[in-house]
């Protein structure tokens, strides 16, 4: 801690119009913080060493050390700055813990079965080891694609109505109900789809489209919200420029507003797909699970990745470890899907953004 007394040499104070503050050397705060962590490790060792207590003691001691040293050398304002910097960084660290832990765990346990078989074999007539999630991956892709096909036109057109045409009570009512829909528990969406199709086609009807409808109920409000925000960002000047050229309103929307907003719309829709691709509850009660591959979403049960993972985990057969491995790998594949969709969203927003050419 003796480093705290090191001072930057001050230039002759009489001539310099800007008063040179006494400052800690550049790496002193980091050094102090690490010293605090080391002290925390020592403290933790006294009561039986553990990583958790080391980190907790260390962060508190390190933050205190930096604050006190800075207060003594640099004065109150700088010390507060360093304190808040420490707090913000700590908060960020805490937020990262579950993410890193989750990714690590899923990778650790899921990599065991991440082989070609997993992507090419179904669970048809598999009771022990082997088998794969081909049928579930296909099912997830088919059902999510169908949900997107249902949700995007409805959601996008609703957003266009709200931004470009809607006025008064109807607009307020729609906005309100979209907000309400955003908060619908996913199981309720599943029950809705289940009830709807049971009413229409009778008790024993099961098909992928039921799951797609359930997912749409969850997806539409997300699409409406994100598209609405993006459309609002299109400058009104562009609409007026178009009107002033004698272009009718609908053409202005189709040819000026939508192309200008295309990057944001693509991003929003992709993220809304990522939002529903991992839904379990509504698919559990509508499409259920089968062991074989079913490519027709309008007839019969289908397997999906989340439901597949759920059943592998909760109803392992005799070869328990094989079932657990498949569940983790299914979770890993699902995370990879979501990540790929997020990357896709970023690419869309980069490549379709209006080019400034500067």
């Amino acid at each position: 801690m003796s480093t705290t007394t090191q001072l930057r040499p001050t230039s002759s104070p009489g001539q310099d119009p800007v008063r040179v503050e006494r400052r800690l050397p550049r790496f002193a705060p980091l050094g102090l913080f690490l010293a605090g962590i080391a002290l925390g490790a020592g403290l933790s060792a006294l009561t039986g060493f553990s990583v958790t207590s080391t980190v907790i003691y260390g962060v508190i001691l390190g933050t205190l050390a930096v604050y006190v040293a800075s207060r003594a050398v640099e004065g109150r304002r700088k010390a507060t700055d360093r304190l808040v910097t420490s707090l913000v960084t700590t908060a960020f660290g805490i937020a990262m813990v579950p993410l890193v832990s989750l990714v690590y765990t899923v990778l650790d346990r899921g990599l065991a079965r991440l082989d070609a078989d997993f992507f090419s074999a179904s669970m048809f007539r598999v009771v022990g080891e082997g088998g794969g999630a081909y049928h579930a991956i296909i099912g997830t892709l088919v059902i999510t694609a169908l949900a997107t096909v249902i949700s995007v036109p409805i959601g996008l057109l609703t957003a266009i109505y709200l931004v470009e045409y809607g006025t008064g009570r109807l607009k307020k009512a729609i906005t309100f109900f979209v907000d309400v829909m955003t908060g619908i528990p996913s199981i309720v969406a599943g029950l809705f789809a289940f009830a709807l199709f049971t009413l229409l086609f009778g008790n024993s009807f099961r098909a992928g489209v039921m799951g797609a409808v359930a997912l749409s109920v969850l997806m539409i409000p997300v699409v409406v919200r994100s598209c609405e925000e993006v459309l609002k960002l299109v400058p009104n000047e562009l609409r007026e420029a178009s009107y002033a050229l004698g272009v009718p309103k609908w053409r202005t929307v189709v040819k000026v507003v939508l192309p200008t907003a295309i990057a944001g719309l693509g991003t929003g829709i992709t993220l809304s797909v990522a939002r529903v691709i991992g839904e379990t509850a509504p698919l559990l009660i509508t499409v259920g699970l089968i062991t074989g591959t079913n490519l027709n979403p309008f007839d019969g049960r289908m397997a999906t990745l989340p439901v597949f993972a759920y059943y592998q985990l909760t109803q392992p057969g005799t070869a328990t470890q094989a079932f657990l491995d498949r569940a983790w790998t299914a979770a890993l594949v699902l995370i990879v899907f979501v990540m790929a969709l997020n990357i896709l969203a970023r690419l869309i927003s980069r490549f379709f953004a209006p080019k400034t050419g500067r």
Partner: protein, 259 residues
């Protein structure tokens, strides 16, 4: 081409608020008419009511008559879209379409209205319009670049080229130079002097020197107080307005003894 506009007893509203009251004026063809006055007095509102852009805003409406060549623009059988095809507009801030190239921006009026044209015809139209807007020499080698790659003054001239490419009868300009530097302003003023041979031009400006430099007729708008509607105080030849105005308020405003 270039048509006369007669405005009589025009009241303009935003919802229940009366923004402009009792305007009677006749705008001459093939000339530049300038509108001056303090901020918030309704100049721009009046200008936007001439090509029915005012009613684009929710709750906005207009009472009275705007007659162009014997046709009431606010008649019940008149489509505002057709009015805007005849009366073009240039806005305060340059607003080229960001998704389109310079070339596409110029022919946007035709493209957006799905007018099919031969490639050679559109090429001619683009060249003619850009030449008309004094921009051709600066951009002829990079017509496929985005419109937003140009400087502010060039963008504004691009917007003028876009407006004249649809061959309107009247060109409305809402403070077209207020976001531009003096050199770009000069370029646009020169351009207006050329364009008035073919179009009727109405320009709103805060710059009284500009009004004095470019216009034949000048209208002075004013309002009595906050919350009161704006009125057209005086409408006279520019020389008269700036040398010997009829109204005391005009003289006060022009000589800077006001606001």
């Amino acid at each position: 081409m270039a048509k006369r506009i007669e405005v009589s007893d025009l009241n303009i509203f935003y919802g229940n608020f009366k923004a402009v009251e009792g305007v009677n004026v006749s705008i001459e063809p093939r000339s530049i008419t300038a509108l001056i006055g303090p901020s918030g007095c309704g100049k721009s509102t009046f200008l936007r009511s001439l090509n029915r852009m005012h009613e684009v805003l929710p709750g906005a409406r207009v009472e009275g008559k705007v007659v162009m060549d014997g046709q009431d623009l606010y008649g019940s059988d008149v489509d505002p879209v057709n009015v805007r095809r005849q009366i073009g507009m240039v806005f305060q801030r340059p607003n080229p379409f960001p998704t389109m190239s310079i070339y596409d921006n110029v022919i946007a009026g035709n493209r957006l209205n799905n007018n099919r044209m031969k490639k050679s015809d559109t090429d001619d139209l683009v060249e003619k319009s850009l030449k008309g807007a004094n921009l051709w020499n600066e951009v002829k080698d990079r017509l496929d670049r985005p419109g937003s790659s140009l400087s502010g003054g060039q963008q504004q001239r691009l917007c003028i080229a876009r407006a004249i490419a649809v061959e309107p009868d009247v060109l409305l300009m809402d403070e077209p130079c207020s976001a531009l530097d003096p050199i770009s302003t000069l370029a646009i003023e020169d351009l207006m002097a050329e364009l008035k041979e073919r179009f009727t031009i109405v320009i709103v400006t805060h710059n009284m020197q500009q009004a004095a430099r470019v216009s034949e007729q000048t209208g002075f708008f004013n309002l009595n107080g906050v919350g009161q509607p704006g009125r057209l105080i005086e409408f006279n030849p520019t020389e008269k307005i700036f040398s010997n105005p009829d109204q005391k308020a005009t003289e006060d405003y022009i000589s800077g003894r006001f606001g």
